[in-house]
Amino acid sequence: MDEPTSRRDFLNRALGAWAATAAVGGAAAAGAALWPREEPPSTTRIPKSAVAGGRAAGSLRGTPFVLVVSGSGAVALSLVCTHARCIVRWEDAEKRFLCPCHKGTFDPEGRRLSGPPPADLRRFTVIDAGDSWEVTG
């Protein structure tokens, strides 16, 4: 470019740069506003007296879970199916969890048995807090 930049060319480029900056900045600001806020982990307590037959139901931030208490301790399994997020239910006759939406199944420990779920049921952290179980997730 030997030719000196004309005043008009310079102004056109400046205008283009201004428009691009405004568009990117606006899009970034809008994107940040649309991004959902992270929710902090929350904790819920299940009184040990509420555990019947080694099981108790609870819910954490709207996610239902089942607390399974055995001799070795307790695990809290999220009942949200890892495939399409339906709520699985315990089938006592078959000793498994069944998802009503696409018939995925999980064993009593939440490990995937059959169907489309790609992963085991999520486990929440359980702490023995004396007269209750403290579930965090």
Binding site: L34, P36, R37, H83, A84, R85, C86, C99, P100, P116
Partner: protein, 383 residues
């Protein structure tokens, strides 16, 4: 000041006569002689869309987009707004009519080669408009906040989550958090009444502007002489105004009549409010049944990846191919008789889609056929 003087003054300030003359010139240009009633499918879809807009505005004036109030506000529309039940029903049935007519319109255009040069972008804009219409259906489905809609949306967002690369991000953005809730409802409402209408208006403006500019497709090869000048290719054809417009008006009237009649005879009834258990036998609208059934056949894990994610690659490619069809199907032939391969692929696609739709509808169900009861498992096999 006289009326004529008013119009003259308006013309000096806006130049409206010039714009009108351009539209009239395009509308009175003869269209190709091969244009038949099939060309009114697009008009029918547009009619239903107009009815969706009007009924949607009526509903939006009464609807309240919060989990506490949404279900009750829909019940209020149904029970106490004058003809509210009919507006609601027209809006709900309109989705099915709109998707159905848009698909038929696309099929007809494909069979008669209307997507070919120079009308590729008309097709692309139309295909994108169809995707926006499906977006309307998905977002609108949640708004009445029924139990079935909430779980249906949970499943859809669960599938979105598994989509390759951007799935997690898109699902989180749509859901507005970890769980379906107030944020999801407001986000879906904002999409349904602000974002999608603006997108659809833009796409349909492009679509219709191109139809106006290029006219309807003649039944000739794209490299034949006649394509170049409109007058030569259009010999013996009728213009939009008044001939084709009259036909369009008839098609629009019948469409509106059928939609209102069906809506009145089979009104959209009340459904239980969200908050219950995941219902059994949850399934999507008929136009998503094929996808729903197809995804079931994928196991949990494939090659160390979630099977669902791998399974989605094929439908995503199909959707992209559909939108870019004119750039894949590039032969200059328009006459169906000379496009046997393209039409065979199309027929195979329709067959697979119909079979999956059928399996999706009957799977996990009991069906009585000729007095014998069949129990079908989730894959559609008799038990």
């Amino acid at each position: 000041m006289s009326w004529g003087g008013f119009l003259d003054g308006l013309d000096r300030r806006t130049g409206w006569r010039e714009s009108r003359d351009r539209v009239v010139a395009d509308a009175t240009r003869p269209q190709p002689p091969n244009v038949g009633w099939g060309a009114t499918l697009g008009v029918m879809a547009l009619t239903v869309l107009g009815m969706e807009c009007v009924s949607g505005i009526v509903l939006a004036f009464h609807y309240r987009a919060t989990p506490e109030a949404a279900h009750a506000s829909v019940a209020q529309i149904r029970d106490s707004v004058p003809l509210g039940w009919l507006w609601l029903s027209v809006h709900a049935w309109g989705t099915h009519a709109l998707v159905g007519l848009a698909l038929l319109h696309a099929a007809k255009v494909f069979i008669s080669g209307g997507h070919k040069r120079p009308r590729e972008l008309t097709w692309v804009a139309g295909a994108l408009a169809l995707f926006v219409v499906l977006g309307f259906s998905v977002t609108g489905h949640l708004l009445p906040w029924t139990n079935e809609a909430c779980w249906g949306t949970a499943v859809r967002l669960g599938h979105t989550e598994e989509a390759p690369l951007v799935g997690g991000l898109v699902a989180r953005l749509l859901r507005g958090g970890d769980e379906i809730g107030a944020s999801t409802l407001t986000r879906f409402y904002a999409l349904h009444v602000v974002v999608l209408p603006a997108l659809l208006a833009l796409l349909l403006w492009m679509h219709l502007r191109l139809v106006r500019r290029l006219g309807l497709a003649p039944a000739v090869r794209t490299d034949e002489e006649q394509e170049k000048g409109h007058t030569a290719c259009s010999e013996g054809g009728a213009p939009w105004i008044p001939h084709l417009a009259l036909r369009a008006a008839a098609a629009a009237t019948v469409t509106a009549g059928v939609l209102i009649t069906v809506s009145a005879l089979f009104p959209a009834g009340p459904a239980p409010k969200a908050g219950g258990a995941t219902p059994d036998g949850l399934r999507p609208e008929w136009f998503f049944l094929a996808l729903f059934q197809y995804l079931k056949y994928w196991p949990g894990r494939v090659l160390g990846m979630p099977g669902e994610t791998v399974g989605q690659i094929l439908p995503i490619l199909a959707v992209v191919a559909f939108a870019l069809l004119p750039f894949l199907d590039r032969s200059p032939e328009r006459r169906p008789a000379n496009r046997k391969r393209a039409l065979a692929i199309f027929a195979a696609g329709v067959l697979v889609w119909s079979a999956l739709t059928f399996l999706g509808a009957v799977s996990d169900n009991r069906e009585r056929v000729f007095g014998r009861e069949w129990k079908l498992d989730t894959y559609g096999r008799p038990k």
